[in-house]
């Protein structure tokens, strides 16, 4: 009879080394002090592309990425990142940076850094963000770049914000194109998050009012449920680390993604309320009933080209939530599903190279 669990001493050593390395990496992802965190940041080489901050408004900053002061004839791209994570997923590490690719290919890039919203953001609304902050940011880009048009690119919740912004302002003619990366529009197909925010079991007002004192919902509260969105993915994360713990390149990427995944920011209370009530619970953006300022928004008002990027294995926003946006069709519109997950298509898997090139081409073709 075959003895399946007889192990040779070499194999025991190999497995024990693997276990040791595995725990070492896991320990490295836990920080006891700010110093340790900063040391890890430098060690991993996060956010490698150089930038200047050209505008600040409260905690928000507008960063401009530099490439040896090359002059470009292309209109700048404004990247609107998610509201619950920091923006460096777009510029994660060397060779895993969308921003670096765009800058190297002569596309001027500006990105919003939301900072860390606090008590002063208690009454900051989505309307103020769209009509106030983002409008002012766009004006600063025009001033800084000397151009009169922009392309906008949003990722995750940032894509929802850019969709809302484009619905309201694209008719003014200064937005040339819009790129959405893993951003939902039809929230009735939002998967588990739609189920979890069901008004029957999700007392939105109670949550928001309880955090009102802090001005923003704490990131620990928001991210508590994320590992349970897809348990397989959570298991795979650790299984892959165990299997590839000797691969330095993989370990660096793992540490970078883990660092970013745990580097979360608070979510301004009133934006959280409107986002969950009007979008998740009532699907108003898709239905054409969302009001921003005093204007009812209709997605058909988006007449600019849209590059709609979806991930095949997106566990946060299923691709179905991003498909079939009822905008006015444009010849240059592209819907494309990439092999990968919510973030890995952007910073992880080899699919990212195809994605970066496609984004570059889309922007250049719609210049």
């Amino acid at each position: 009879m075959k003895k399946e669990f007889d192990i040779s001493p070499e194999q025991i050593e190999e497995i024990s080394n693997k276990c040791k390395n595995f725990w070492e990496i896991l320990e490295k992802t836990q920080f006891k002090s700010l110093d340790e965190k900063q040391k890890a940041w430098r060690e991993i080489g996060l956010a490698p592309t150089l930038y200047n901050t050209i505008y600040t408004e409260n905690t928000a900053k507008l960063n401009y990425y530099i490439d040896n002061d090359k002059k470009s004839n292309i209109s700048p791209v404004l990247i609107i990142p998610s509201l619950i994570n920091k923006n460096y997923t777009m510029d994660l590490i060397k060779d895993h940076s969308m921003i670096s690719h765009l800058v190297k290919n002569n596309i001027p890039v500006y990105i919003i850094d939301w900072g860390e919203p606090g008590i002063e953001h208690g009454d900051y609304t989505l309307d103020e963000m769209i009509d106030g902050t983002i409008n002012r940011i766009v004006k600063r880009i025009f001033r800084h770049s000397g151009k009169k048009h922009i392309h906008i690119l949003g990722q995750c919740i940032g894509g929802v914000i850019s969709t809302i912004y484009a619905t309201k302002y694209s008719s003014q003619g200064f937005i040339k194109s819009m790129t959405n990366i893993t951003s939902p529009v039809d929230f009735s197909k939002g998967g588990k998050l739609t189920e979890w925010t069901n008004p029957k079991t999700f007392n939105l007002d109670k949550i928001v009012n309880s955090f009102k004192e802090n001005g923003a919902i704490s990131p620990q509260f928001i991210h508590a449920g994320f590992p349970f969105l897809d348990l397989n993915m959570t298991f795979n994360k650790y299984r892959n680390l165990f299997n590839l713990v000797d691969n330095d390149e993989f370990v660096t990427l793992y540490r970078a993604l883990d660092f970013w995944g745990n580097d979360n920011i608070p979510y301004p209370c009133e934006i959280f309320r409107k986002f969950n009530r009007d979008l998740y619970q009532e699907n108003k953006l898709f239905k054409g009933e969302l009001v921003i300022g005093d204007q009812k928004l209709n997605l058909k008002d988006i007449k600019i080209p849209l590059f709609n990027i979806m991930a095949k294995h997106d566990h946060v926003f299923p691709k179905e939530a991003a498909l079939n946006i009822p905008k006015t069709k444009n010849k240059a519109d592209i819907d494309k599903i990439y092999e990968g997950g919510h973030v890995t298509i952007l910073a992880g898997l080899p699919a990212r190279f195809e994605l970066y090139k496609d984004i570059e081409n889309f922007i250049k073709n719609n210049e």
Binding site: E57, K192, T201
Partner: protein, 130 residues
Amino acid sequence: MWNMNAMDDFSKQWEKMVKDWFDELMNNPDFLKNMSKSMEGALTSKSMLDEIKNNIAKSLSIPTASSIAKISQYIIKQEAKINDLEDLLYEQKNDIKELKELFIKSLDNKKSKNVKKTPSKTKKTVKEKK
């Protein structure tokens, strides 16, 4: 010998079992209701704690978080207004610059027209003199 595949199969099966169990739990309305209730309970405790903190701050005559928040919000709004005014000023400055350029251009045009007209005038006066 050690069979890694057997270990792998075992762990995958365990993961599948946990996932199925969890998915079932997540689709169970009773579980979700209880989760919601316990979350609400925790949030009520948080609100009560915040209120106690505020009362202590008031009794010690130190500003509460909400009063600091109000001041900060006021500052943010003023900052936004200043930024808007700055943008407006910049736009007006540009408009004035453009108007100035237009004005200078139109003046130059007029001047050049006058220069073209003047020789004909002199010719006329010469003829008149004759």
